[in-house]
């Protein structure tokens, strides 16, 4: 069992979820409540990581982060090391390939709110900010929870993009999914089996917890 890879996967999933949830929430809410030119294009871009082959997405991300790119040069100038093949690079890639997993459930949850309930909150004297905290967030909570569970578990298991952008450097970019691949390549099926089982239990467990909490919220709303 490669505990270092497991720890790295957990750290990557936590960083991704921690950064992506607030960003995804703002984007999801914007897409749910506003109609503007180019909305369809923006939605398609958010959904693209779902249908793009991970190697294609990984290739573009690697090109964007490479030492010859503007982002890569800027990163080196500020931090003194390249963004590609670093943990920070993995986090940036992870934020992008998880966009649909975070945004989609939250957007659907906000879209499902009855418009007159939000309007009732406003005419009751609640500012848009208070309306979000007191009305929208509690009602959209199941969607937010699903987004969190999907983002976390998907990050734990992502392979293609992580390999392209991170390169499987032990302790730096080798996640559990890459470690399983390495174990299989080395004919260590016992090691691969154990790590796969841990990933399976972890992922199913996270979804079960999210579903359970969602059902509880649904019951408490009557």
């Amino acid at each position: 069992m490669d505990w270092e890879a497991f720890k790295l996967s957990l750290l990557l999933a936590a960083c991704t979820a921690g950064l992506l949830m607030p960003m995804g929430l703002i984007l999801a809410r914007w897409l749910a409540f506003h109609r503007f030119p180019g909305r369809g294009v923006l939605e398609a871009l958010v959904m693209a990581p779902l249908v793009l082959p991970p190697t294609v997405l990984g290739f573009y991300l690697l090109s964007a982060m490479g030492g010859n790119s503007s982002l890569g040069k800027l990163w080196i100038a500020i931090f003194g090391h390249p963004l590609a093949f670093s943990f920070e690079g993995l986090v940036v890639a992870s934020l992008i390939f998880n966009l649909p997993f975070a945004v989609q459930p939250m957007q659907r949850a906000f879209e499902a709110l009855p418009p007159d309930v939000r309007e009732a909150a406003w005419v009751s004297g609640l500012s848009p900010w208070r309306t979000f905290w007191r009305i929208e967030a509690p009602l959209a909570w199941p969607g937010l929870l699903s987004a969190l569970a999907l983002t976390f578990t998907h990050t734990m298991g992502e392979f293609g993009v992580v390999l392209m952008v991170g390169g499987s450097i032990p302790g730096e970019t080798r996640t559990l999914a890459l470690a399983i691949y390495d174990r299989v390549q080395a004919f260590d099926t016992d090691g691969a089996q154990l790590m796969s089982a841990i990933l399976l239990v972890f992922s199913v467990g996270a979804i079960l917890i999210a579903n359970g909490l969602t059902a509880r919220v649904g019951r408490s709303h009557g």
Partner: protein
């Protein structure tokens, strides 16, 4: 001296055409009546600040809530308006008391609970404070919606088809509630309904709307004596 009451003037060519102007004095019930698509709900929404017409002006007790010329637009949460929605629009995750307390944010936190209880008692919902909207009947939900609208200490009360989602018996009780409110509150009240008999009983004046335009404003008996209005609202043949 600021003019008391509500004065409304709303004009736009689309998406919903509107060309209306009327006023409503404190303590008066003005019935907005017209066929479907006449713009009744849009007028209420514009007064509440939930939509913004291209041109117009909304003044309450001399304060300007909306003026397209001077580009004044007070957002809905800054307008002291009580709006009772057609489908109640209660907060489904909150109890009846919390639904009402949610509109009492202009009062100190410690007082909100007791004020909410008093308002629920006023609409005869004692003992149901802790129930969520899903555990209440249609009539009880509408009473919570009325209590919530009153919680705002409104300068204007807007009632959008408040009896449409309840049965006949509940409707009679709710109508009595509106009569009581009219007696107690010295604020302009706008009542939107498609039921001509109902509005004729409850309103002091009627404002007849058709395709976004005001056809006639006057006392119910005068307005409903007009053959053209009877034809519009009741389908009577114009002699």
């Amino acid at each position: 001296m600021a003019e008391p009451g509500l004065s409304v003037s709303l004009h736009q060519s689309g998406p919903i055409p509107l060309d209306v102007a009327f006023s409503c004095a404190p303590g008066e019930v003005l019935g907005l009546v017209g066929p479907s698509g006449a713009g009744k709900t849009t007028v209420l929404r514009a007064i509440a600040g939930l939509c913004r017409t291209r041109a117009g002006r909304v003044c309450v007790d001399g304060a300007v809530w909306f003026d397209s010329e001077t580009k004044v637009f007070l957002p809905p949460h800054n307008r002291r308006v009580g709006l009772v929605f057609q489908e109640h629009a209660l907060f489904p995750h909150l109890s009846a008391a919390d639904n009402v307390a949610g509109a009492l944010t202009h009062h100190p936190r410690a007082e909100r609970r007791s004020l909410a209880m008093a308002l629920l008692s006023r609409v005869h919902l004692d003992g149901l404070e802790s129930r969520k909207p899903a555990e209440l009947s249609g009539g009880q939900r509408q009473r919570v919606a009325i209590a919530r609208a009153l919680a705002r200490d409104p300068q204007v009360l807007l009632l959008d088809e408040p009896f449409s989602a309840v049965d006949r018996r509940t409707r009679v009780h709710l109508q009595a509630e509106i009569v009581a409110l009219r007696r107690d509150l010295a604020i302009p009240m706008l009542l939107v309904t498609h039921d001509v008999d109902e509005v004729a009983r409850l309103a002091d004046r009627l404002c007849i709307l058709d395709q976004g335009r005001v056809c006639l404003i006057g006392r119910p008996d005068e307005v409903l004596a007009e053959p053209a209005i009877r034809a519009l609202l009741l389908g009577d043949e114009v002699p």
